[in-house]
Symmetry: C2
Subunit: 199 residues, 2 copies
């Protein structure tokens, strides 16, 4: 409907996840009226990101060198690996400052609905990292949903014969939440995982 | 939180209208995993749009030449001008194929709340287009909301002494809608503007 390149821009923006035709149009008009330097910076960083960013050869996290920031850091505890679905999860966990080990990014979760099986995830790479006996514990930090639970169960079974400690993040009530608004599965898990206060 | 250029990309995307931090992260990871050619195409069109797109010297619509597609078209009726707020409105009206005149894009609407007054809109340009006596009718097609109505009222008062026909788009029930769901203002307008069926 628009002249040449304006329509091209709307089409390209509309291909991004979560950007519908109306938002694409809104963003395009914003860019048309924006400072050329701002738009140039966005165009530049798009090119940069594809040339400079790769995936860490050890853990699969996003990285600008052969190894990611965590894997390059000599102060990290090499005896613990935290297994997550995506690089976003690494960022979420780093924000807590609770974990000082390293990560392994699977690149998703087992999902028969979406045709994702164990072979589509970086499981073989995880097993080869465990082969030298340096790792003592594997924390399964996949999402607490159907796919994440299935992936954790699958991995737990795979890792059991290796004589490692295999753990899963605790399920329970979110801190700051209201008990009455918790769904029954979460509340059930909170009961099952209750802790003794005199400990 | 991310390494260098990934965080830069998330920051730049987060500056776009309607893109929050979570969507920016989601789009960034989509782009990281996307085909480099697709990302390159988006980067290219961003650069292109800023170098090639300008605003029509006659009507203010987006254009790739000095004049927009409508103003260049010799088959358009030069005796009618339809005044709209934005280029998006031109596209919406063109889609109806009901209007064969030309447009005038104001670049917004009068809004004391947002500090937009008549001088911030392309009103002087409209008056100078009307000075040669070629235009017989001005259709005020600003949005049917508070700002759009105020702008239409202001323009109607400005144009009245010029002896032109000044019209406003009809308000009423949207076609395909349910009468019971119409708000009272719209329903009231639909009554006030009722037409005789034997006409």
């Amino acid at each position: 409907m628009y002249e040449g390149v304006v329509q091209d821009l709307i089409d390209e923006l509309g291909r991004l996840p979560g950007v519908g035709p109306k938002s694409a149009q809104r963003i395009a008009f914003h860019l048309l009226q924006a400072d050329p330097a701002d738009v140039q910076r966005l165009a530049h960083v798009l090119t940069e990101v594809k040339t400079r960013v790769r995936f860490c050869e050890v853990c699969g996290n996003v990285a600008e060198e052969a190894r990611c920031r965590v894997c390059r850091d000599p102060r990290r505890d090499v005896s613990v690996i935290c297994v997550v679905e995506e690089s976003k999860d690494v960022v979420a966990i780093e924000r807590t400052r609770e974990f000082r080990g390293r990560y392994h990014v699977l690149g998703g979760a087992i999902s028969p609905m979406e045709g994702v099986g164990p072979d589509d995830l970086r499981m073989r790479e995880l097993l080869s990292r465990l082969s030298d006996g340096e790792v003592q514990e594997v924390i399964l930090a996949t999402d607490p949903n159907l796919e994440g639970e299935a992936t954790a169960t699958y991995l737990a079974r795979l890792l059991r014969p290796m004589g490692l400690r295999v753990t899963r993040l605790a399920s329970g009530l979110p801190v700051g939440g209201d008990l009455e608004y918790a769904d029954e599965v979460t509340l059930g898990r909170a009961f099952a995982g209750r802790r003794s206060l005199d400990a």
